[in-house]
Amino acid sequence: MLSKDPIVQAPAFSQSYNGYAYAWNNPLKYNDPSGYANALSQDAYIPYEDRRGGWGGPVYDPMSEVFSRSWSRNPHNTVTSLAGYSMSYNWIRAWWPSTPPDGDNPGPESSNLLPTSHVGLFGLQSAYQANLGVTFFNRPQREAFAQGGGTPDWVNRTIGATSATNGYFQAGYLNDAKQTYKYAQRINGKVRSANTITRANRISSLSSAKNLSRVGGGLTFLAAGATVYDGLTGEAGWQNHHTADLAVTGAIYLTAASFPVVGWIAGGLYFAADLTTQYYTGKSITQNLFNP
């Protein structure tokens, strides 16, 4: 009987919302043996660089990577998924049950079920980030990861499905369709709402930080360079206020390199003060200090 798919398996991929499409309308690449979630076709080519750990090489525990990387690099303490979404680690810990609900407890094995974030990848993300791929891993599977020594077939299929090809958001292979079915509806709703919030955090904390860093670094370089140029080519030669200005901009530059926010604030305040002083007195701050 033909019926609509009950799972939106990759919320960020529009094909997932077509409940009547088979394997995202890409049967050459995917198949759907369970009827619930796509798997990568056995014939699909998976590039070497998209395989976690390489051909049969050591493989890593994806969860530990996800959390350790996010922990160390993300000041907002979030887990970033392939699609650029993120969700709070603490938030996951808070709502993720230690045992499955609905009285259907498969036993202690399943208490180690951990959600990595949602599956998928926008093409501009690198293969390196594909390591942040998503699926549900139970204990035997994660042990297989940890032990390395050959990549099990299901790992290859999972990794392949979460890898990037040609610039489009790719697959989410959900390993166990039954478990997925139980959790998917809860996850979809909660993850997506959390994504909305944490995506904003991510934008403000990383993208803007990078741009602000560039602007700050660029301005301090320009100030220092212009000071040196004026000092070394100007009619009056090198003056004490050149030295002072160079010291100030150098200090701001070094501060901004280590503590960006402090550097931006210091640099911005100094620039504003210098501009104001120049406007009212015709001289910069340091000129006023040394040549009042």
Binding site: L206, A224, Y229, A256, A257, P260, S284
Partner: protein
């Protein structure tokens, strides 16, 4: 060579904390190149009293503002060029310890020594 070392050295120093270490290292390299570019002109001016490079204004602040667009263009060129060759630079220094006292002295010496000599020669 010295610029590549400087670029990679600063990049390694800055990348732990800075969101865009490549741009910061490009800034240091561009600054170093500016000093090295000006150094011969300083020598000519100091020993032969010939000023070759122009100044845009006698007012310190205005002159700085006029120079900045040129420096900005130079900074962007340096950033793009070195970012493009980052892998090549990484391969060049792969297997070598870059953050060492010796390299630090080379980098900051190359930056500071010509600057200090220039300042001493042109200080009134």
């Amino acid at each position: 060579m010295i610029y590549k070392l400087t670029y990679y050295f600063i990049y390694l120093l800055a990348k732990k904390r800075n969101p865009d270490p490549l741009f910061y290292s490009a800034g240091v390299v561009a600054f170093m190149q500016l000093i090295h570019f000006l150094f011969p002109f300083v020598l000519v001016r100091a020993f032969f009293d010939i000023r070759i490079l122009p100044t845009f204004s006698d007012t310190y602040f205005i002159n700085k503002l006029m120079v900045m667009p040129f420096l900005l263009i130079w900074l962007i060129i340096v950033h793009w060029r070195y970012k493009k060759h980052l892998k090549e630079i990484e391969e060049k220094f792969s297997g070598k310890k870059v953050i060492t006292l010796r390299n630090g002295l080379i980098v900051f010496g190359s930056l500071i020594i010509p600057l200090v000599i220039s300042i001493l020669l042109l200080t009134n």
